[in-house]
Symmetry: C2
Subunit: 649 residues, 2 copies
């Protein structure tokens, strides 16, 4: 067993805007992020000066890449890491900016085309990923760069696999990709925020269903099986899940690194709490082989170097190919074994019985809050005082009344009319619209409860929807049902289900430019790998019973309205008539139990099977959520629920 050591590396990257009840509206009041474009001329001049400055790299560089991640390729990042947003103004969760002497371009996907075009000024070209005419970053660079150019990037925030592909393409065109150790955005970012440093929390067995010691034992067994001597973990949710920390700010990122009968690299100030030290058994492990040693976060580079220097000729080190290029390259190639998904990522995706029970409870509480919200909206909207922001605040207030509420799982998307067409919209004072009886309202929101994470989207009309709005809503509903009710063989990858969600839209010439579903963590990241339902991925892992994903097709009519219908669903065994080659079948069981607005449906477009699905879903909402509303004595919401779950014919 002595060769089976592992390394986990992490860094604090939680958002510094903690959502607390006393400070309810702080989420939406950003003076620096708006839907009007950011003026970037002077910033770009300074960045280009830095690109020419040999203080940062031995020669001038002709292009600089600004990825959107942090040193852990996290999705939700601390303000001090929002470098791509700082340089171009676009604040969506995905996007890469590239600045050359002459050009500035930013690549993002279909969820963000509208938002990015509104947030960036004329200095920037929006590169719409996924459209045929849009060049890849590599191809674009090759087409604009002078011969023999150097392209710089911060090696700590580019993933190793991205570095590899970019470098290969540039070399084949006579250019080179170079690592610039000092981040050039930081060099020109005078008022860059501090990195936050809050205490870490721990989670008990009643929530996790498995101790961190058992998780380490399981991990080591997989390492033994693959003859791996070391494992470097860098994804914060994987580390959090393993050592059972929980730090809750939208996404539960923790700072951590493990190595040698487990080493943990972390901002040591965050480990001051004696309960936490006790949880980790620091200093006094009951089983010495499961002890954890802690080290300052900054020392990971040198410690890993030292470890690698002492490797035997056959020692292999696992590291995710999405880990940072800088850390990956510390491991000599002969020892490095990059993997697309780590064993932690895979085991985290399949929820155990305790976690499933917790997720179910969290969704019941969440549905109670949403039923209350919708009952309240129905009453308040006619008065003309409800805005996108106040509706989002109300949703948060109602969620916060539920047991074990910790915070939101992501910034609430609360959008009316044309704002609904901005797929990842966040209401801001300058864009804030009032909810009326004339426009479609879309709310995509979720919370972290200690027992689970939620993510739900409902699209409602509080007056009379147009025939076109109803038509589109119904196609989206058909897609949602097609996925949710699908029966498929064990071992099917989620991307093979994506087209089911689109068939009805496609038939009418419509579509949506985002995936259909993502993995959902249990009191962890609201977006997690390695499973999902998206035409964009192929290397996703097969779905298995116990995995939890979202099912969220949509339709977006720019300048007019947005529709999305999202449930979180649990993968469960199905029992169809036959069982081909004993493979077994799977289907989905919705955890989200919030009525789908019947008023928005054109029921004539639904098949009998689809109508039956809607009625059965609403029956279950009434049964499960109705009972909880009753228990909590929330009468108005219960009445609303009963009204909204009448069977359709």
């Amino acid at each position: 067993m002595k060769y089976l050591l592992c390394v986990l590396v992490g860094l604090l990257i939680t958002r510094n805007k903690r959502i607390s009840f006393e400070n309810m509206s702080s989420l939406f009041v950003h003076s620096d992020t708006a839907m009007s474009p950011k003026i970037t001329g002077e910033l770009l001049r300074q960045l280009r000066q830095a690109m020419r400055n040999c203080k940062y790299f031995s020669e001038p560089i002709q292009a600089y890449i600004i990825p959107s991640g942090d040193a852990h390729q996290s999705e939700y990042i601390a303000p001090c890491d929002c470098r791509r947003e700082f340089i171009c103004g676009f604040n969506g969760s995905a996007g890469t900016a590239i600045v050359t002497e002459q050009h500035a371009a930013m690549w993002t996907d279909g969820r963000y085309f509208l938002q990015a075009s509104q947030q960036m000024d004329n200095n920037w070209t929006l590169m719409k990923m996924g459209l045929k005419e849009t060049p890849s970053q590599e191809d674009w660079l090759i087409s604009v760069l002078p011969e023999n150019s150097k392209v710089g990037v911060d090696p700590w925030i580019i993933a190793a696999d991205q570095w590899k592909n970019m470098s290969k393409a540039l070399i084949s065109a006579g250019h080179s990709l170079v690592a610039v150790q000092d981040n050039l955005i930081d060099a020109v970012w005078t008022d860059r925020p501090e990195r936050p440093s809050t205490q870490l929390r721990t989670l008990g067995l009643e929530y996790t269903g498995m101790s961190w010691q058992d998780k380490i034992v399981t991990l080591r067994a997989k390492m033994t099986e693959r003859k791996i001597s070391w494992f470097v973990a860098t994804a914060l949710d994987e580390i959090a899940c393993t050592v059972k920390f929980s730090e809750i700010h939208y996404s539960l990122f923790t700072s951590a690194t493990l190595l040698k009968s487990t080493m943990l690299f972390v901002d040591l100030k965050r480990l001051a709490d004696p309960a936490l030290r006790d949880h980790l058994q620091l200093g006094s492990p009951s089983k010495p082989e499961l002890s954890i040693q802690t080290f300052p976060y900054e020392s990971v580079y040198t410690e890993l170097q030292a470890i690698c220097a002492a490797l035997g000729p056959k020692d292999k080190v696992w590291i995710c190919d999405k880990a940072s290029c800088a850390l990956t390259q510390v491991i000599p190639k002969a020892h490095r074994t990059p993997i697309p998904y780590t064993p932690l990522c895979l085991s985290k995706a399949v929820k155990n019985a305790t976690e499933i029970q917790g997720m179910k409870m969290a969704h019941i509480k969440d549905a109670v809050a949403l039923c209350e919200l919708f009952a309240w909206l129905e009453k308040e909207i006619p008065k003309g005082n409800v805005t996108e922001i106040s509706a989002a605040d109300k949703a948060e207030e109602l969620r916060s009344q539920q047991k074990d509420f910790v915070g939101l799982s992501f910034p609430t998307i609360s959008s009316v009319g044309p704002n609904g067409a901005i797929i990842h919209y966040r209401p801001l004072p300058e864009t804030n619209r009032t909810l009326t009886m004339n426009e479609v309202y879309l709310i995509d929101s979720g919370a972290q409860y200690v027992d689970g994470t939620t993510d739900v989207t409902r699209t409602m009309h509080f007056g009379t929807p147009s025939a076109f709005e109803k038509e589109c809503f119904t196609y989206v509903l058909k897609g949602h049902i097609a996925v949710s009710a699908a029966i498929f063989p064990n071992g099917t990858k989620g991307h093979l289900l994506d087209s089911f969600a689109r068939a009805a839209l496609w038939e009418s010439g419509l579509d949506y430019l985002h995936g259909t579903g993502h993995g959902v963590g249990c009191f962890l990241n609201v977006h997690e790998g390695p499973c999902g339902i998206s035409y964009k991925t192929f290397a996703d892992e097969p779905l298995e019973a116990g995995m939890i994903v979202s099912d969220e097709p949509g339709y977006y009519e720019d300048g007019s309205f947005g529709i999305r219908l999202e449930n979180v669903v649990l993968v469960v065994p199905a029992k169809p008539k036959y069982n081909y080659r004993n493979r077994g079948s799977l289907t989905f069981d919705p955890l989200t139990l919030v009525p789908i607005q019947i008023k928005m449906m054109n029921t004539e477009l639904l098949t009998q099977k689809e109508r039956d699905w809607v009625n059965e879903y609403h029956r279950k909402c009434r049964e499960v959520i109705g009972a909880e509303l009753e228990r909590q004595g929330r009468k108005e919401a219960l009445e609303w629920l009963i009204r909204e779950t009448q069977p359709i014919v």
Copy 2:
């Protein structure tokens, strides 16, 4: 323009069994291939001896890989190239054998599980690809090899990308992949057949719609765009399509290589025909920059070496990553630009108006022959004299009566009852079953006509099918219709449509272990890239109008029956109600017009939309094929057609 030169490399690999009318049954009389297992103990002993013999490689090798391809990674190969079949007995079109000191294992996919298990003896382990528990070749090798092993392979028949992946995996486990120049199977294959050498043919503009000169000009324009100096083409159909040779034996493979204002490497004996020399303008080109120089096939290695030695520092050479490892490695890494699909492959896939017209004509003629066959079978089967072989012979005879018939496009799959469950079954004297009124009959067949290639599967019952047979047939039909009638956005990749074909089967716990569709060449390979409809691929190219693919879901009940329904369909623009982001929509138009047996349908399981589709399809069969049957005066077939195309209600 002087830098825009190109190289094409090819080798004669046509089947030596020419299908001629005088020799109708020769196709099925193989004394050396049977459904009883091949005895391989002695062969394996000899191969292992060769593996230890330092005459072939400087050190003993511990494992030897036998891929199924030839030097051009062709699907249908000459008997002299059937090395994998020789060593293990399994004669399907896809499979890789690996022999170690202790073990012998063969990997193949779901189409061939049953066939392979019947053709291989106990010396061999069948590795069922696509099943979760089946290890990859790499993983298996790593699990069985002693430390520091050498794994040998013939570098001329392993594709460069396969070499790369295998080599990487072996190195990471402390082993190595080594190129053994002499093929070790050839070394133990005492009665290996001669390589065939027939004359090449040419195709006129009336069939191709574009001259080879124009194709070269188009190719060079793409090379200019991507700053490519040289292009090495090795896929025989790409070369045939470009220089407009046609050599017809199932698949139209020609031997060719082009380089420097076009060089062609070919068995020069095959260019003796003056008409052919004239077609290629050998010696007297009307435009010198389009002249072709011919070289002996064997000289490609040294010529390419000489060319590469003279490359300038910026010269880039395109070569498909599926080209042989040996030829790929001639090109120094700094100049080599591997591509997954060549521009020839892409342009070949999109048929021009002349080719589409030709394909339509070919399918009409083919349907005439099949209607005649089925009318004949209906009459003859009750007499008890029709066998799988005689039915296949009759199909060929009837096809051969049609204009411009050249040969079959692949060996006919004519299978009754349990033989139908062997997905790529070929009837042999020892397996030949008689067609009866009690069993399901499946015939998958096609022909090469000078104007186009066909591939069609029909499943029929000439008595009374069981309820289960009808149920399965109906699910397969539902899947076939779901794909054929699908409307999807421009730019959609075919693999995204694959699940449509399975949804109805999945719902009942059934499935089939092969892809749903493949590209179909126009008087070229019956299986061609880069488009298709399969869950197995991801890097397929998006479907576009003018592409032609098959739509062929199935269901196979081992030991009992097989069902498959296959049409060849043309990708055409669709005009749905809306046009999201002006992307445009596509759908499929069936080129195959042969009735689908109504007797096999459980019409109660069909939706109204599906019944409408069946009726409209049968109406078109009657209209188009009926007219041609009438014109050709084939009365019995016409009567059969009219009977089989009555509307269902």
